[in-house]
Symmetry: C2
Subunit: 332 residues, 2 copies
Amino acid sequence: MKKIIDAVDDVVVDALRGMSLAHPDTLRVDLDHRLVLRAQPKDDGKVAIISGGGSGHEPLHGGFVGHGMLDAACAGEVFTSPVPDQMTAAIAAVDRGAGVLQIVKNYTGDVMNFEMAAELADAESGIAVRSVITNDDVAVEDSTFTAGRRGVGGTVLVEKIAGAAAEEGLDLEAVTAVAERVNAGARSMGVALTSATVPANGKPSFELGEDEVEIGIGIHGEPGRRREKLAPAKDLARTMLEPILAELPGEGPVLLFVNGLGGTPLLELYILAADAHEILAEAGIEVSRHLVGNFITSLDMAGASLTLLRLDEELTRWWDAPVSTPALRKGI
Amino acid sequence: MKKIIDAVDDVVVDALRGMSLAHPDTLRVDLDHRLVLRAQPKDDGKVAIISGGGSGHEPLHGGFVGHGMLDAACAGEVFTSPVPDQMTAAIAAVDRGAGVLQIVKNYTGDVMNFEMAAELADAESGIAVRSVITNDDVAVEDSTFTAGRRGVGGTVLVEKIAGAAAEEGLDLEAVTAVAERVNAGARSMGVALTSATVPANGKPSFELGEDEVEIGIGIHGEPGRRREKLAPAKDLARTMLEPILAELPGEGPVLLFVNGLGGTPLLELYILAADAHEILAEAGIEVSRHLVGNFITSLDMAGASLTLLRLDEELTRWWDAPVSTPALRKGI
């Protein structure tokens, strides 16, 4: 295993230390609870939003903490859910009297631990907590760590758009409804060209042949739908877009999110974006917003995912709203 | 070779199409000349800045086009200099009557082609063109494609800071002097854990053993100083910082730039940043500004580079100045 790390057991805390040093204007870190928090807390009376999950998907979630997006992120061990104590500490730290929304990717451990945290927070401090579970991955119905569909790229869009709605001053029920609406309108699928290597395992999580890709990969290397021979980018784009489009609700323009899984160069992500755009144009679908880059990764996995989100005027306005986080920044 | 591409010969143009689709508010693309240009040209009377070089180092340079940084970037084939016609087209497109600065990494082909372009632009249109050659890599004196030292991470800092000075309204001689000052105050070194694979070659450019790293790697895979057994991140940081510090001029605080070479996860870059910060603190050096991420890459190469830049009040102000490009954005 070749990685730029010190001790395998310390990768999460060591990386959090680096994050806090790199972004002092935006973030602060609670190393005891493994939390990333805003340097400047949100105004009183606004709904706070937390998320979190296993580490190894950076910049998700810590890189999305800041004005217009998350108030805190809870970092679990690599590919492992954070524990309820982390979320209750985060909830207590970020609540501004208007309650807290938890954005949770649909993995069994995460769902259970965030749910327990919500109950604890309510019982201990009376803070109102709501949770939205993201499950945008169309690849498979149940998976290694999941009952139902996995939460993947759509999570980033939920965090951005719900974050804007919270910043605008919507109340807890309304912000929760916005997050649910984004999740309901988002569909994703990914392909892997290589496996990731988890530091504690020291070897790739699975093997792929020299000319094989895994269609419908999960962000922890969970199996997808099938393996195929590597095809040109445009064929890969079509392979992902067909099942996405078959299930995409509604009508009108979409946001196209081309996400790198960690080991794929930006050059290739832009090629995939051009291909996806062309396929959508041929299908008569207008892409009115784009996001291209490494936003929800799987350590060093080579591959990419596509997410479509159906937009309306309101979602577009929140998508365009100012955001200032280490990984996503605009209008500020 | 596993890559998300369509035709090997079209990777640069295909990626440029994707860039223009992904960033319509910031960029436009001239596909004939393979240029990335600002969507909104700079004000009349301000110095324009162009850069460019071989593709495969994304986001460098096209991702740095926008307010506060570059006015245009010329994209060569992968790891191959752009041709003078591209630069003359860029110069003609971006000149606002105050002349044009070219920022050129010190590789023989780039230096020759940008020089020829400057002469052509002067002869054909009378546009004043100056060039600054970046050569911040302390690893080796001459290299595969270079007489003298290679231009690497420092180039990003030159583009940001000279871009801010140009936006502030400094004249051509003054902006050129700022760029030279940044290059003179910057020192870099990189390590590779794996080789990159150039699409046209179809196989890794070099082989490294399962436990080996190349110390002092170039961004095209040019050999460094030596090969070593992979060590903990803190030892790698020290191996890079010692020769950097031995040559870093001046005194006072520094900017620490931790750059990923393409295939290394952000988690590891933050670990390296924490280690580098600690080593510098032990040496009594204050890190007053940070940049951590993939900014000058080598396709899918796993590895990282460190760059230090000695800061003063003026350089710090230009570093902090608003910038709005696809890859670097703050204060806007």
